[in-house]
């Protein structure tokens, strides 16, 4: 009994050690041109590894998403995201009606907060979807931004 407990403790610490060792080896995913070239929002969401968009868990309360309600200039739409989901690994941003919906992908380590602020272009009024990958599970939230002047073809 005692022995088996000891062995389990050893196995657990060995596993913990292996997983720490794996982090630097794993490295970052590379920029995936195919995902960024998808033109349909559903294909775009699938391209990041979500087989069934139905598996996305709603996390409106755990993902703080700041976006203007109305963007007069679609060329500069400020966006700010903070994930409160433990073990957040990645944050993906999609602008549903842009010619290619996948806008950006932020890959975090434990040395940074799962936070980002940036500025995006939006072609027209649309939902901005934010998908968080945390501990292997995908979560989502979304908000609509009304765009007065589209920002893809103009300066």
């Amino acid at each position: 009994m005692n022995l088996s407990k000891k062995r389990r403790a050893f196995l657990n610490s060995a596993l913990a050690l292996i997983s720490t060792l794996l982090i630097p080896v794993k490295g970052y995913a590379r920029w995936d041109e195919t995902a960024y070239n998808e033109v349909d929002i559903a294909d775009s969401i699938r391209s990041i590894g979500i087989r069934n968009p139905g598996e996305l868990r709603d996390a409106s309360k755990n993902i703080e998403l700041s976006l203007p309600e109305i963007a007069e200039n679609g060329a500069i739409v400020p966006i700010k995201i903070l994930s409160k989901i433990p073990k957040t690994e990645r944050i993906f941003v999609f602008a549903e009606k842009n010619p290619q919906p996948l806008v950006s992908d932020y890959i975090f380590t434990s040395d940074v907060e799962p936070f980002v602020a940036s500025r995006i272009k939006m072609g027209e009024t649309a939902f901005v979807h934010v998908i968080v990958l945390a501990d292997g599970i995908f979560y989502r939230t979304a908000r609509q931004v009304k765009v007065t002047i589209g920002g893809c073809g103009e300066e």
């Binding site: 995936d32 700010k80 940074v112 995006i120 300066e155």
Partner: protein, 84 residues
């Protein structure tokens, strides 16, 4: 902020009426005292002269933060700042 045109490929040159080729940063690597802490992937839907704000809780005065970027035309750039 990085100075970069972030061209979508959907804009026309007003004088020649030719389409301006897409030209955008796709990868940004961020390190803290030489250790990689964050990586960013972008599309052409990120605004011109991209602005990026991130938080490094363990950073203290005197630490170095570096960023390095690559774009779709094979250009790259980098910069280092010392936290005051």
């Amino acid at each position: 902020m990085i100075f970069h045109p972030m061209e979508t490929g959907y804009r026309k040159n007003k004088h020649t009426a030719e389409m301006i080729p897409k030209h955008f940063i796709h990868t940004v690597k961020i390190s803290h005292n030489g250790k990689s802490i964050m990586q960013v992937h972008w599309s052409r839907s990120v605004s011109k002269n991209p602005y990026l704000n991130f938080r490094v809780p363990n950073a203290v005065s005197g630490d170095e933060l570096s960023i390095a970027w690559d774009d779709n035309m094979g250009e790259s750039g980098s910069g280092t700042a010392t936290i005051s």
